[in-house]
Symmetry: C2
Subunit: 312 residues, 2 copies
């Protein structure tokens, strides 16, 4: 019998998650600690350990991983969350170990493929997805095809400038989208506000965007202000995306995508104010639907499309 | 004998230029005044007058025109330079008049196709072209295919925000690229400077970006400063393009593209400072090569590719 499943793998800085994927169906989930602090050799052993139990049922492996990925060569050029990963030929290493074809792509690209095929982007031909977490990533489907660009780095939404005189981003440049929407900057914005205002947030030792969102939903004025402001910055960035890509759907993925209207309302209001010719456009700005599964499903889809020679 | 030529037409606010195009070869140029102030009916008669002398040698017509164009329907939804053009079914009107297939696309898209196939973009698969004139337009070739987006408006570089607290653009929004690089804003920048500084530019009653560029080349300090500043703003915008599209070549078209190093040096310096991971990228920022012919060649190419069912 021909194996039809594909092993989809999502490699993060903390955990490696894998599963057998057949279309939209996810079976045999496996998981391991990335042990990123111990360097690539140990992390690769951890990756192998999640593949081993499911290898016999699979015809290919697809991997999503944060960083600068050369998908054509299956090379991880650099990964911000994985210590010491520099030009690691991940596809070759795993192909040699398991005798299966292996395909590697950037994590935001994997999530975008997953949401496009099985989640919020179903039926759309022009999709821009961005992920908001520690960092802010992005990926584009242009006319039914995932955009890689000349080096595979297309879609870098987080490091686009919206405010050239603005505050410095972690990368050293000013006024990037990530400088406003990255988790630690959202938290810092809240901390500045609670220093001078009464807020339920003052009761937390550790703040996260998720806590701020929950508190905002309870009606806390300061927490709501945080998301109103972050939403305006994100909205300016999204208006740029609309000007350049003209998507019919923009999908927001990552933890704060679940914040609901306290985030989406200021984003949508800003976008509709900041976009030229809104009367000629139809677009939606929506939360992702698949949560953590998007990356696994998208990585598997990438492998499937590549192994069958379809365009992605 | 089978006609192989295609009529390429470039419709501007002042002139309509047409020619018979066979590959890179341009024959039988014709031209007429657009008479835009008299409304669409008169301008359409003017368009017919440039087609008439060459119709018998052609198998199709391709038209580039500024504005919001629905290329699938051959519809000019709106054109900023043509008075009263609203939902004009230009392709249908001309098809009925001449019995030839007619294809219409945005002028920046036409220029981009022309430069890609025959000019500065030859051999590249990921191209971003932007035009700087009265307005600032743009267009993208992504992996060998012109990007239209969901409504045909992709590539709107001029109205992307780089400075959300910046000065207001003609469109009402703040800190757009066009607000810094559009012709009248370049001239206004020069005028502010010559009010307080000695400059050869003070000798001109009417200033244009071209005059400022020529004066800068003569070593005039104020004129050079104008381009150094404009180049920095444009460079931030181009860095955003690199982050989002990851092109291997960026082509600057329009009058000031001929300014040479006084413009390209600050643009290139800013881009290389403002781009993440420059060591992993190879890209060029170059002037367009075809001048006014790019639009005619690209419009003809669009018609050729569409009429033969090739993807564009």
């Amino acid at each position: 019998m021909k194996n039809k499943a594909i092993i989809g793998i999502d490699i993060g800085g903390t955990n490696i998650k894998a599963a057998l994927v057949t279309g939209r169906k996810i079976d045999h989930r496996t998981r391991a600690s990335t042990r990123a602090e111990l360097g690539p050799d140990i992390s690769i052993e951890q990756i192998k350990s999640v593949i081993e139990p499911v290898r016999k049922a699979a015809k290919a492996i697809g991997i999503g991983i944060a960083g600068i990925i050369d998908s054509k060569k299956g090379l991880v050029k650099y990964s911000p969350n994985l210590k010491g990963w520099k030009n690691v030929p991940l596809a070759r290493i795993l192909r040699n170990a398991f005798g299966l074809p292996v395909y590697v792509l950037n994590d935001a690209n994997a999530i975008c493929l997953g949401e496009w095929k099985h989640g919020a982007g179903r039926g759309h031909e022009n999709v821009f997805l961005f992920t908001v977490g520690t960092g802010v990533g992005g990926a584009a489907i242009c006319e039914g095809k995932l955009l890689f660009g000349a080096h595979g780095f297309a879609g870098e939404f987080g490091h686009t400038t919206i405010n050239l005189d603005g505050p410095k981003c972690i990368c050293g440049h000013r006024g990037h989208v990530e400088r406003y929407a990255g988790a630690k900057y959202i938290v810092a914005r809240a901390r500045r506000k609670i220093a001078n205002n009464k807020s339920l947030l003052a009761g937390y030792d550790t703040l996260t965007p998720e806590i701020i969102a929950r508190t905002a939903k309870k009606g806390d004025k300061v927490a709501r202000e945080v998301f109103a402001e972050v939403g305006q910055y994100v909205g300016i960035g999204v208006a740029n995306i609309i000007a350049l890509f003209d998507p019919d759907i923009i999908i927001l993925s990552g933890g704060i995508a679940r914040a609901g209207s306290i985030l989406f309302e200021p984003v949508r209001n800003t976008v509709s104010r900041a976009t030229l010719g809104p009367e000629h456009r139809r677009y939606k700005i929506v939360p992702a639907q698949l949560g953590d599964d998007a990356g696994i499903l998208g990585a598997a889809l990438f492998a499937k499309l590549t192994v069958t020679g379809s365009s992605v």
